[in-house]
């Protein structure tokens, strides 16, 4: 039996690869893309108002609702704006840390810093958000620390969502930038210096262009993770994200929820196309 199988595969590289990939590909196409396709199909259905049962006929009604109700435009705008702000914040904070880790720290210091960046990922997402909720509450530590200065914390709201998300997704920005910077040979930096470039010029003309694809790669994580989150907005603000509206409609109006789920997919496709233009995928 095994000999016959071996003969079958011998000298047939395509069959070998096919057999090897059949399982994972079936999972990807049927389990992953298939369920996504079913979800998207549902976006064109509607719901019987009385019994709440699905009506399986095609219509663009849900997409019209999304376009015509101002509240959905506000929610999409808010979600995308906060995702962009979180990405920007994380990029600004992560770059110096990653640079120090990659180029300045000793071997030992580097190891310690990598572990330090990874440690928050070991604890539960929910615990981290709830700790922020406690810290930002009226009687929380943020207000207590700011009180002597005559200030008060941001309380719950968009600012709190921005703060918490920036905290949550920071490691996802640091690690790709760190990996990108590590790949830049030190000799390039020395060469730039030898040719008389100031540190700022070296950074601007040598390091930044080489590390930029890594920043874009990190931004895909922070942007996509913020875009899809709905628990943080619920716990530290009253404002709805796209995910909250999907959650609220999923059991009463699945077609509307599906139509809403198309929005982040479209936004992400646009984002990825821009990222490809900027060269984020060249070294993958």
């Amino acid at each position: 039996m095994s000999r016959r199988l071996a003969t079958l595969f011998h000298g047939r590289p395509r069959l070998q690869v096919g057999a090897l990939l059949a399982g994972p590909m079936a999972w990807l196409v049927v389990g992953y893309l298939g369920s996504l396709a079913v979800l998207l199909v549902a976006a064109f259905w509607s719901v019987d108002p009385l019994s709440g049962e699905l009506i399986h006929s095609l219509s663009l009604e849900n997409f019209e609702t999304l376009l015509n109700e101002p509240v959905y435009r506000d929610i999409v705008g808010r979600t995308v704006l906060i995702a962009a702000l979180v990405t920007l914040t994380d990029a600004v904070i992560a770059f110096p840390i990653a640079f120090y880790m990659a180029k300045v720290a000793s071997r030992r210091g580097k190891a310690i810093l990598v572990v330090a960046v990874l440690i928050p990922l070991w604890s539960s997402y929910l615990v981290k958000v709830l700790s922020w909720r406690t810290m930002l509450s009226a009687g929380g530590i943020v207000n207590w620390a700011l009180a002597p200065l005559g200030l008060s914390g941001p309380g719950f709201g968009n600012t709190a969502v921005w703060l918490v998300m920036s905290y949550l997704w920071l490691p996802y920005m640091i690690l790709p930038i760190f990996a990108g910077l590590e790949r830049i040979p030190d000799s390039l930096i020395s060469a730039s210096e030898d040719l008389g470039a100031s540190p700022l010029t070296t950074f601007r003309r040598v390091i930044l262009p080489l590390a930029f694809p890594a920043v874009v790669a990190g931004s895909i994580f922070t942007f996509a993770l913020t875009l899809g989150d709905y628990i943080t907005p619920k716990l530290v603000s009253n404002n709805q994200f796209i995910g909250n509206v999907i959650f609220n409609n999923i059991s009463t109006n699945l077609p509307l929820a599906s139509a809403l789920a198309v929005v982040p997919i479209v936004v992400m496709i646009g984002y990825l196309l821009v990222a490809r233009r900027l060269g984020a995928f060249e070294h993958i």
């Binding site: 108002p49 509450s137 719950f156």
Partner: protein, 396 residues
């Protein structure tokens, strides 16, 4: 671009195209679900089928009373906890469950969808001693047919922080009237559910008689717009919309919120922690002057139940005096069984939760499912989808 890259790009587009085609095919030939007719009620109780599959609110099915049930009847209890009424309806639609502890905002949807069967109350001996004001209600009896066994009920109270909110409010105007609510800007706690629209309607019913609101769940265009408008005005003053009761407890305990809608459970939990919270006193009938919304839960049996005998035994068990007392105390609600009051651990439990005080419940408007047909033959009322949509718009 090299030829190889061009080839792989073409393959990628072919895959995308193929998926799109498959998608359209799927969308076109989605079969319509078959029309389920409500099954007839069970006539005679038979032997247990060995297990029963339930959907319930958290705290309704606990080992403390489900284990003795299993030992007594031989029906193994498989429980699925649902977080919202909407989730319960969705789960019942799968046909995989025998029964559900449905609130009034789910029952009509389940009956209309043919998901639940009528209940023969003569097969549930404990039904006889259930509080009479819970029987034959519009959310459990449809066209004179019983569709379930009442389990328990609660009211949505007005709670406030007695240090911060003075004088003690006697009306919902403290959260609903923009002039008064502005005093507690950013510190109002509102239940995060479309049912809050009914709360605004209860307020308008008392204060805007010319709108002619009778039932806060049957609102025509004008009445609905008024209630939604009131909540939109309230929006800037809301500190937090809560759906998870621990979130509300933490907001009141931490001083983030000082006044708002609550359930008896949170009120007594905060009291027990020694927090300065108050709710309407006995002199006001324990409710603000307008009355309040509330919920009344009903055990219903699926029209496709695989274990109907076990389900009937469960419905009788859960409203038996001792068990109903246990559930009510664990969950924090008024028991449906009148004999349960003799079995509660806290001897004052039934009076604290007003279980035996019909006057209290007369002023409570139990959750119902809003439907477009509200009895005047014109189908001009707002249905539940409109309520969900409006609630999304209010929160913004």
């Amino acid at each position: 671009m090299t030829t190889r890259q061009a080839n792989s790009a073409r393959t990628a587009w072919l895959i995308v195209g193929g998926l799109l085609a498959a998608l359209l095919l799927l969308a076109g030939c989605g079969s319509s679900s078959d029309e389920t007719t409500a099954g007839n009620e069970l006539q005679k109780l038979g032997k247990g089928e060995g297990e029963v599959d339930l959907i319930s609110w958290g705290g309704y099915v606990e080992p403390a009373w489900s284990k003795p049930f299993e030992q007594k009847t031989g029906c193994k209890v498989n429980n699925k906890v649902a977080g919202t009424s909407d989730e319960m309806v969705a789960l019942m639609r799968t046909g995989e469950y025998d029964g559900v502890s449905a609130s009034g905002n789910a029952t009509a949807r389940l009956v209309d969808g043919g998901d639940v069967a009528p209940v023969n109350v003569s097969l549930v001996p404990n039904y006889k001693t259930i509080f009479s004001d819970l029987k034959n209600q519009p959310y459990n009896t449809f066209d004179g047919t019983h569709y379930g066994i009442p389990h328990g009920r609660g009211a949505n109270l007005l709670m406030w922080n007695s240090n911060e909110v003075k004088p003690a409010p006697t009306s919902w105007n403290v959260t609903m009237d923009p002039k008064i609510a502005a005093k507690y800007k950013g510190k109002i706690s509102q239940y995060d559910d479309p049912m809050s629209i009914a709360e605004a309607a209860v307020y308008l019913k008392a204060h805007e008689p010319k709108l002619g609101i009778e039932n806060p769940y049957e609102l025509n265009e004008e009445q609905f717009e008024a209630a939604v408008g009131l909540l939109s005005e309230q929006r800037p003053y809301v500190g937090e919309y809560w759906s998870d009761l621990t979130k509300q407890i933490s907001a009141f305990a931490g001083g983030d919120d000082v006044v708002g809608t609550t359930w008896q459970y949170q009120y007594f939990a905060l009291k027990a922690e020694g927090k300065p919270v108050a709710a309407s006193p006995a002199s006001q009938g324990f409710l603000p002057s307008e009355g309040a919304t509330g919920w009344s839960d009903t055990w219903m049996i699926s029209s496709r139940a695989k274990h109907p005998n076990c389900m009937y035994m469960w419905m009788n068990w859960i409203v038996s005096p001792k068990v109903n007392a246990e559930v009510a105390e664990v969950f924090g609600e008024a028991p449906a069984q009148s004999l349960a009051c003799e079995h509660t651990k806290n001897p004052n439990f039934c009076s604290e939760y007003h279980a035996d005080n019909p006057g209290f419940w007369k002023r409570v408007y139990y959750w119902e499912t809003p439907v477009s047909d509200c009895g005047n033959g014109e189908s001009d009322c707002k249905d539940y989808n409109d309520w969900v949509q409006a609630w999304t718009s209010i929160k913004g």
